[in-house]
């Protein structure tokens, strides 16, 4: 075994072998810093772009913890002279961050109530025992629920329902089968496509609403967002379900005994208890607050009020929220929103948008179509590689500056960031189903590419046929 000095040396070598991207990022940043500032870009904009590149590489490579990336963004904003410490602090915290933080806390509180058994009963009562109907039910229920309470919350509640059905039908839950793949992807894709439905479906929706307001483009309310996005969600449910069925058609087309066993198991757990009823009532109040009060007090404050009620009514303890919340994500969202605002303020976003327009004019005359495809395709590809909220936070200020109707561009970008169908790391829901060991990375591509293309075509039609009627 190694002596103490050799142990340190060995640890250092291992660190270097695992932090190649961190070291590369350092040299890339230094190199860009010493490059002359491009024409039309301010020195502050130049330095902001260094932070954007640094953050993107570090988030994708995961070479340092995500909260460390978030802190690095804030430090670099001040050290590179882009803004004062107080200026950075004020862009770091906004209603969008309150909303993301509140929604994540609400998610923990809802999962904590153990409503999944009743959810299971509701699904099998609605769908009956035919496998295709159960799959459709999983997609539909996941989509509609995740549009209100966030995708990973729903995935966490739906996962045991699907695994119980599989176990009850005699399918091994230790190895992958067509039916297990079908049900798990019904949850993951249902949650992903549902997350576009309302601002509370995903943090990225709140970020885009924040940008609309911050840049003086529009005030989009909770209900306005639903008018834009919900029709697409409803159309996608049967489409996604059909794609999944024909990609992973199982041999077992009836799950009669599994459904019966599940009903018996759920019946044993009894009816809703008072805490569960109360938690549903609190969430309904929050939902009503989002619709009617958010234009006046903001989405974030409504979400935090809901958390206040859950805590005050002792429906959840603070310790449960504190240990189950992904605080690193909240800090990251705050810092990428701050970075997005700096991109706008320093002119980096406009410069990138103009550079893209100048370049695209060499090939295509129609700027509207080019800009739309640029933002949607880039966003949907990036969302499969890094966090969808981080994608929207970075791309948002650029696409809103492309000179096309900013509402349509912003909504299209936000919706496209939900097309996280292709990789395991695309979203927490993809990772949740992968963590069961029942789906492989190939499975994501097998069904994902079809849904990816169908979603882009559908978004195109909705963007140019339906949304102009609302604007």
């Amino acid at each position: 075994m190694f002596g103490p000095s050799n142990q340190i040396l060995n640890n250092l070598l291992f660190w270097v072998s695992r932090k190649k991207w961190l070291i590369a990022t350092f040299f890339i940043s230094i190199s860009i810093f010493y490059l002359p500032t491009p024409e039309g870009l301010s020195p502050e904009g130049h330095r902001t772009l260094i932070i954007v590149i640094t953050a993107l590489i570090l988030i994708i490579s995961e070479s340092i913890p995500i909260p460390a990336v978030a802190l690095l963004i804030i430090i670099m904003e001040v050290v590179l002279g882009i803004d004062t410490p107080n200026g950075v602090a004020s862009t770091f915290m906004s209603d969008a961050v309150f909303f993301i933080m509140g929604s994540l806390m609400l998610a923990v509180a809802i999962v904590h109530q153990g409503l999944d058994k009743h959810l299971a009963l509701m699904i099998v009562t609605l769908t009956g025992n035919k496998t295709w109907r159960i799959s459709l039910g999983f997609v539909g229920v996941s989509a509609i629920m995740s549009s209100f309470i966030g995708e990973h919350t729903v995935a966490a509640m739906m996962l045991p329902v699907a695994l119980s059905l599989l176990k009850n039908s005699g399918v091994s839950i230790n190895r992958s089968t067509e039916i297990s793949t079908l049900l798990l992807f019904s949850i993951a894709y249902g949650c992903a496509l549902g997350s576009i439905g309302t601002p509370s479906g995903g943090g990225r929706n709140a970020i885009m609403i924040g940008y609309f307001a911050e840049f003086g483009l529009a005030d989009i309310s909770y209900l306005d967002w639903m008018k834009y996005a919900y029709p697409m969600l409803l159309i996608e449910i049967p489409l996604a379900s059909a794609i999944l069925w024909y990609t992973f058609t199982p041999e077992k087309t009836i799950m009669d005994s599994a459904v019966r066993k599940l009903k018996v198991d759920v019946a044993k757990s009894g009816s809703l208890n008072s805490n569960q009823k109360l938690s549903i009532i609190v969430f309904i109040f929050v939902f009503i607050g989002w619709i009617f009060l958010s234009p006046r007090i903001g989405l974030g404050i409504v979400a935090l009020s809901g958390v206040f009620l859950y805590l005050s009514l002792r429906l959840i303890e603070w310790n449960d929220i504190a240990t189950r919340m992904n605080w690193g994500i909240v800090i990251l969202f705050g810092s990428v929103i701050s970075l997005g605002i700096q991109m706008k303020d320093t002119g980096a976003a406009s410069w990138l948008a103009q550079s893209f327009l100048d370049f695209s004019q060499l090939f295509v005359a129609d700027q509207i179509l080019t800009s739309w495809f640029f933002s949607v395709v880039l966003c949907s590809v990036m969302t499969n590689l890094l966090s969808n909220a981080a994608t929207v936070a970075v791309l948002g200020p650029i696409v809103l500056d492309l000179g096309v109707n900013p509402i349509i561009m912003g909504m299209a970008t936000s919706v496209a960031s939900a097309f996280a169908y292709l990789t395991i790391v695309a979203s927490p829901t993809c990772m949740i189903i992968h963590s069961t060991g029942l789906v492989s990375s190939k499975d994501y591509f097998k069904a994902g590419w079809k849904l990816f293309i169908v979603s882009i075509v559908l978004l195109f039609l909705i963007s140019f046929l339906y949304w102009p009627m609302l604007s």
Binding site: N10, F14, V111, N326, P428, S435
Partner: protein
């Protein structure tokens, strides 16, 4: 003495577990069995944790538990665990989180001092390094990987001796091939050979390899000491001397009927990092299981 046995599934790890437990028995060591599950990306860590909590509330096992359960059954069938433990079945309720990505089942052993079952999630090399650093294992036992990079990283970075189990078959008549070459850890390698020979009840072929006549003269002393040590421990052995490149000579001599035991040339990680090491070069081609002593 502490031994770490890394497993992944019933399909791929039964040989590793069998060999590992026999080695643990030979050393009268405390074995820890670890399963390293897939890495969960940082954006999803908490969310996956919550989903797994919900699974447990439905009496569904979290991924990886079935591997530990199979290992438990293996231990009980082979009488590594007390009867009381076997009758009560796999004690899932003693799966305790002992760190962000580490859970542990506590079991009482009979043949060995103690047996621990560990569940970890993450990149396998990082997790094994972390486990070895945390618990100070003397030997890590793992199945041979498809990737030579992984084998290289194991031999370079893990701060324990490493036993890489390759093509092991229980009904085959094995012999230990103890390679003595220029190394700091020859005595330790000889001692390990004796223990393993006793555990598997097999003989030892000592092969002393010098790069030239001068170096073989220097190694003859080590060869003599090894022969004496084996004789004293009543291990049947043969001895031969070869001149040439250790990698070529060992690869020529070692076949699937051998368990190759050799030591790392240097304990300077920087030297190994840049120059590579003999065991790793051998590992790339050999059909034998290899114990790299360091």
């Amino acid at each position: 003495m502490k031994i770490l046995i890394a497993i992944s599934s019933k399909k791929y790890s039964s040989q590793t577990l069998e060999v590992g437990m026999r080695v643990a028995k030979a050393f009268n060591a405390k074995p820890t069995i670890v399963d390293v599950g897939d890495k969960i990306n940082q954006f999803s860590l908490k969310e996956v944790g919550v989903a797994q909590e919900r699974m447990e509330s439905w009496d569904l096992d979290r991924p990886g538990v079935e591997v530990l359960e199979w290992a438990f059954d293996f231990l009980s069938e082979n009488k590594f665990i007390e009867k009381k433990e076997i009758e009560s079945g796999f004690p899932k309720n003693t799966l305790i989180e002992t760190g962000g990505r580490r859970s542990e089942v506590y079991l009482k052993g009979t043949v060995c001092d103690d047996v621990s079952l560990i569940l970890r999630n993450g990149e396998i090399i990082e997790e094994l390094i972390s486990e070895v650093q945390k618990e100070h294992y003397d030997v890590t036992i793992i199945g041979k990987s498809q990737s030579s990079k992984k084998d290289y990283e194991l031999s370079q970075y893990i701060d324990s001796s490493i036993f890489i189990v390759n093509n092991y078959q229980f009904d085959r008549n094995y012999k230990i091939l103890l390679a003595i070459h220029e190394s700091h850890f020859t005595k330790k390698a000889v001692k390990y050979s004796v223990r393993i020979a006793q555990a598997f009840n097999i003989g030892v072929n000592i092969i002393v390899i010098g790069k030239n006549n001068e170096s073989i003269d220097g190694l003859k002393k080590a060869g003599k000491w090894s022969a004496k040590f084996l004789r004293r421990n009543k291990i049947s052995f043969s001895e031969s001397f070869e001149i040439g490149d250790p990698v070529e000579v060992i690869n020529k001599k070692a076949d699937k009927n051998h368990i190759l035991i050799m030591s790392l040339e240097s304990n300077n990680p920087l030297k190994t990092f840049f120059k590579g090491n003999t065991p790793l070069k051998i590992l790339k081609q050999t059909q034998s299981s290899v114990l790299i002593v360091k």
